[in-house]
Amino acid sequence: MIASARPAGVRLRSFAGLGGRSLRARPLRSGLTAAGIVLGVGMAFGVLVLVATIHSSFGSLFNTIYGNTDVIVSGKASVGEVPQRTLGQVRRVEGVKAASGQVMGLFRVIGTEGKAQTGAAATLFVAGTNLRGPDTAGATLVEGTKPRGPRQIELEEAWARSHGLTRGDTIRLATPTGEAALLVSGIFRFGTALDLGGYGTAAAPLGSVRRMTGKATGWDGIDVIAASGVSAAELSRRIRAVVGPGIEVATPAAKSEEVNEAMSSLDIVLYFFSGMAIFVSVFLILNSFNMTVLQRIREIGTLRALGASRRRIATSVLGEALFLAIPGCALGLALGIGLAELLAAAMRSFFGLPIAALDVTPGALVAAVAIGLLATTAGALYPSLRAGRIAPVRALTGAVGSERRPGLPRALLGAALFLPGMAIGGLFWFSNASGTTTAAIVGVGSTLMMFVGMVLLAPFLVMPLIDLLARPVRALMPSEGRLATDSLRMNPLRTSATAAALVVTLSVVVVNATMSASFLGSISSQLDAHFARDLTVQPLGYSSYGPPVSAIAPSLRRQIAALPAVGTVTPERIVYMRKLPGSREPGLLEAVEPSRWPRVDKSEYEGASTAAAMAGLGAGGAVVGRRFAEATGLGVGDTVALRGAGGVVRAPIVATTDTFEANGNVVMVSLATLRRAYGITSDSTLALTAVSPDRRAALARQVGALLERRYPGFEAVSDAEVKKQYESAINQQFSFFDAIVGIAVIVGLLGIINTLSMAVIERTREIGVLRALGGSRWRIRRTMLTESVLISVAGSLVGIGLGLLVGIVWIISIRESTLVGLKLGIPTSMLIAIAVLGVLIGVLAAIVPARRAARLDPLKALTYE
C-alpha cells in the first residue's frame, strides 16, 4: 500500500483544500472577485508600465541624440536662445576639444494633397549644424551622404523607413518661412536605438535651417566634446565660469534627468487615478469575503468545534483570497499591457509626448503583483479575522441577529477625514496645477483621506436615499418593492460598501467635470471680455500644454502686415517655464508689443491703467498674474529678475492682472525684454485686426489665402475656434483621467452583481414562496432589477452630490485664494449622463442575478436550508 494513498472518497489533501471547495461552491462570487483583482492589477500594471515607458523614453532621449556630446550649453531648462558669441567663449575654454552650435526647427510633413499634416508622425525636428564639424550626435550614416547643399537633408533611419523615404527622395516640409522641398541625401542611425513615439529627427546644414526657421542668430544649444582627460563635470565647471548666469551647462544625462523630473508630478497624478481601481477592488474583495464568511458561519463554527484554531480559520479564508489573487494577477498583467498601450497612444495624441514602445520592466511586474496581493490581503483581512472570531457555538445557532448598524463613531471619523481632505485637496490639485512633487503628494494624500471619509460616510447618505427612492417603488409594486428594498436595508454596511465604489469613482468624474466646466466657462468668458482681435494666426496643432509646435518667423508677420485688409498684427510670444523667474511654480512667460497690444486685448490691470501698464512694459517692466504675486510675495514696485541665456534683466513690476491662463502664474513683459533676457525672436501666435470692422471677412480671406499658398504649417482661426481649441484641450486632459477612472467604475459594477447574487441566495425562500403563490419569472426578475437600480442610482446620486460638493468647494477655495473671478460651472449634461450611467449600471448588474433568481425551482427554493 502506498503511503500517500488517501482514504476512499477523499480528494482533499489538507485543510487548505477546504478553501478551494468553498470557492468552487460559489463560482459567480469567486469569478467576480477575481475579475475585480484582474481590473485592479491591470490598471496598476498598465500605469506602472506607462510611467516606466515615459521615463525610459525621456531618460534615454538626450543620451541618444547627444551620443558623442559631453556637455550641452543651453538656456536654463532649455528656454530661449544662447547668444551667438557664447560659441566662441566656449571654444576658448581649456579642455574643450570641439564645440558645435545648433539651431533646431520643428517642421511638418506636407502630404500628397499639399496640406501640412498634424500629429507626432508628421512632425520632424531638424537640427541645423555645421555638418563638416565634429559629430556630436554619434550618428552613423547608413545610406547616402551628408547633406551637401542648402536644399538637402538627412533623416533618421526608423522615421524615414516608416514614411517610406529613402536616399534620393524629396521630402516636402512646412517651415516657419514657408514650404520647403528637400532632397534626402542620406539616412543616419543613432548610436543607440531611438523611439520618439513617432516624432522624427533629421539634420541639415546650419545655414539652411537658419533660413527655414528665420532664426538669424543665436543657438538653441551648443554641444561640447571634452578633450581627453577632462571630465564632463570639470569641463562644465570651467564653461559655467565664462558663460552668463542664465545659461545652463549640463551633461546629456543631467538634461534627461531634468526632463524626467518634470514628468514626475504627472506620475503621481497617474498613480492616483489608477489607485482608484485598486481602492475599489479592495471593497469588492472585502464585500465578497464578508458575504462568504456570513454564509459559512455554521460551517466555521463546526470547524472550531472540531478543534480548528482561530488562526487556522483566519489563514484559510485569507488563503482563499490569495488563491483567487493568483489567476487575478496573471490576467491582470495581460490586461495591463493592453491598457498601457491604450494610455500611451492617448498620451501621444492628447499631449504630444514622445512616448516610445512599451517598456515592461521587471520592477513594474513585481510591483503590480505585489499591489494585487496587498490589495487582496487588505480586502480579505477583516473578513478573515471576523471568521477567526466565530465562536464554536455558532455551529449550533448559525447566523443570528442582523448586521451591525453603522454608528456615530463611524460618522464622526468619516467627517473628520472627509472635511479636511476636501479643504486641502483642491488647492494642491488645481491651484498649482502640475506643480511640485511635494504639492502633488500632499494633494494625493489629502484627496485619499477625503475618499476614505466618503466611504465611511456612505451608509449615512446611501441608506436614507434608498429609503426615499424605495417609497415610490413600494407604492407602485407593493410586494416586489418590499422584497427589493428589504435586503438592501437589512444589510446597511454591505449595501453602502457596494454603493461606495460608485460613490467614490463617480464623484471623481463629477469633480473633474465641475472643474473643467468652471475653467472652460471662465476662460471662455475671459476671452470674450479680453479678446479684441479679429483673427489669430497660429501654428497647426497649437494648444496650451499641447504637443510642441513650430514657432512663427518674423517674415510671416511682415507678409501679413503687408496685406491690405490688415489693420494691426501683433505677436504674442509665450514660453512655458517649469519655474517662473523668482518663483518655484511653473507658469507662462508672455511677451507682447506694448504699443500695439491694447488694440487686440482689452484686459484691465490692477495697480495701473492700461496705458500706464503698457508704458511700463515698454520701459522694461513686467505685469504679473495674481498667483505669481502670491507665490512669490512680489507686488507692484518690486522687481522680478529674468535670468536668461541672453543676460539678466531686472523688470520692475508695474501692474498685476487676473488671468486664468496657467492659473494666474503668469509674467508678462515686452518683446524687447524677452529678447534681451532670453534671446527669443520667434512668435508663438499673431493677433490680427482688420483695418475696419467691415473688412473682417476680407481679412480672414486674405490671410487664409496667404497661409494656404505659402505657409501650410499655420492656420488662421476665429475667436470661436480659439475657444473650441481650449475646450478640446481641457476636455482631452480630463477625459484621459476619466477613462482611467472608468476601469474603477467597472469594478463597482461587478460589486453590485456580487451583492445582488448574495441577496438572491438570502431570499431563496421568499422567492420560492412568491413563485409558489403564482409569481411569474418576470416578476422575480423585476424585483432584482429594482433592487439593482436602487443601489446603483443611490450610489451614483450620492457620488454626484459629493462630487458637486467637492467641486464647488474647490472652485470657491481656488477663487478665494488665487483665481479671482473664476466662475463656478455646473456640468449639467455630464451630471445627466452620470445619472443615466447609474441606471444603466444597475440594469447591467441585474442581468445575471435576475436570471438566477427567476430560474430558481420553486420546490427547491422552498426546501432551501
Binding site: 476512499a8 472518497g9 477546504l18 471547495r21 468552487r24 478543534g307 487556522r312 464554536p392
Partner: protein, 260 residues
C-alpha cells in the same frame, strides 16, 4: 444485571459543579441550566435524558467546551477548563473531545469520507495516515459504500451516522453525543449504540443525550435533567427500569413545579 456494582468506582474523568447558563436578558431571559452537578468516570457511558427544553444540549455544549457556563465549573482530570483561553480550549476540543451535533453539522461541500476525516485535517494532519481508519468507521456505521457521497445525497439518518464516525476518528477520550440515535430506526440506532458501547469498552468515555429509553438503557448510568436541574439518576442496563424512573421523575417533578 448489576455490571456497574461489581465494577470498582471509576476514577472521575469529568466533573461539573454548579453549572448555570441563561440565554437572553430581561423579561425574555431563559434559564437553561440552574446549578447542575455531574461527575463522569473514565470509561463510563452516561446517558442524559429529559424533556425537550430541559437544558440537555446546553449542558453537553458546556461539557464539550463549545460554550461557557455563567457560573460553576467544569474540569477534566481535575483541571478546570471553563476559564481557559480560547487557544487552550481549541486544543482541548481538537485533542480530547469528540462531538456529535444534534443537527449533524456536516460540511456540505465535503463527501462523507472527507467529513469523517475533517478532525484530522483541522488538526493539521495528512489524510494518508487515516485511510484505514476512515474506511473502518464508515463500515462500522454501515456507510462503507457511500464514502464519496455529499451530505445532500444522504438521508438524515445517514448524515447522523457520518457525524458519529467523524466524532470518533481520532479516538477522543471523551465523546459527547447529542441525540446520536434521534433520526435512526431501531436497527440503525441499535448498531450506533453498539458502536458507542464498544468505544467505551476500549477505554473511552461517552456522554450522550437521548430521548430513547431503549438507547439510554445501554448506558452505565442515566442522568435525568428537568428545567435545568438534575432531578435523578438511575443505573442503566434495563429498559423497563429506565422508563419507570423517567416516569417517576416526570410525575414527581409535577407537584414540585406546581408548588414553586
Amino acid at each position: 444485571m448489576s455490571s456497574t456494582s461489581v465494577r470498582p468506582d471509576p476514577a472521575p474523568l469529568l466533573e461539573a459543579r454548579g453549572l448555570t447558563r441563561a440565554f437572553g436578558a430581561g423579561a425574555t431571559a431563559v434559564q437553561a441550566l440552574r446549578g447542575v452537578d455531574l461527575t463522569v468516570g473514565e470509561g463510563e457511558l452516561v446517558a442524559i435524558m429529559g424533556p425537550s427544553g430541559s437544558g440537555k444540549s446546553t449542558l453537553l455544549h458546556i461539557l464539550g467546551a463549545l460554550d461557557r457556563p455563567d457560573a460553576g465549573s467544569v474540569s477534566i482530570d481535575g483541571r478546570r477548563y471553563d476559564d481557559l483561553s480560547d487557544r487552550e480550549l481549541t486544543r482541548l476540543r481538537g485533542e480530547v473531545f469528540g462531538f456529535v451535533f444534534q443537527f449533524f453539522n456536516l460540511l456540505p461541500t465535503l463527501s462523507a469520507a472527507e467529513n469523517v476525516l475533517l478532525p484530522a485535517l483541522v488538526n493539521g494532519e495528512r489524510p494518508a495516515g487515516y485511510a484505514a481508519r476512515v474506511d473502518a468507521l464508515l463500515g462500522r456505521v454501515g456507510l462503507g459504500d457511500r464514502a464519496a457521497h455529499l451530505p445532500t445525497e444522504l438521508s438524515g439518518g445517514e448524515q447522523q451516522r457520518v457525524a458519529i464516525a467523524r466524532a470518533l476518528l481520532r479516538h477522543p477520550r471523551l465523546v459527547l453525543a447529542d441525540e446520536p440515535t434521534g433520526n435512526l430506526d431501531s436497527k440503525a440506532g441499535g448498531s450506533v449504540m453498539r458502536l458507542l458501547r464498544s468505544v467505551v469498552d476500549d477505554g473511552q468515555t461517552v456522554v450522550m443525550v437521548t430521548h430513547d429509553p431503549g438507547a439510554a438503557a445501554l448506558a452505565d448510568r442515566v442522568v435525568f435533567l428537568r428545567d435545568g436541574e438534575i432531578s435523578g439518576e438511575v443505573e442503566g442496563g434495563d429498559t423497563a427500569r429506565v422508563i419507570d424512573a423517567f416516569r417517576e421523575i416526570e410525575a414527581g417533578a409535577q407537584p414540585e413545579r406546581a408548588a414553586a
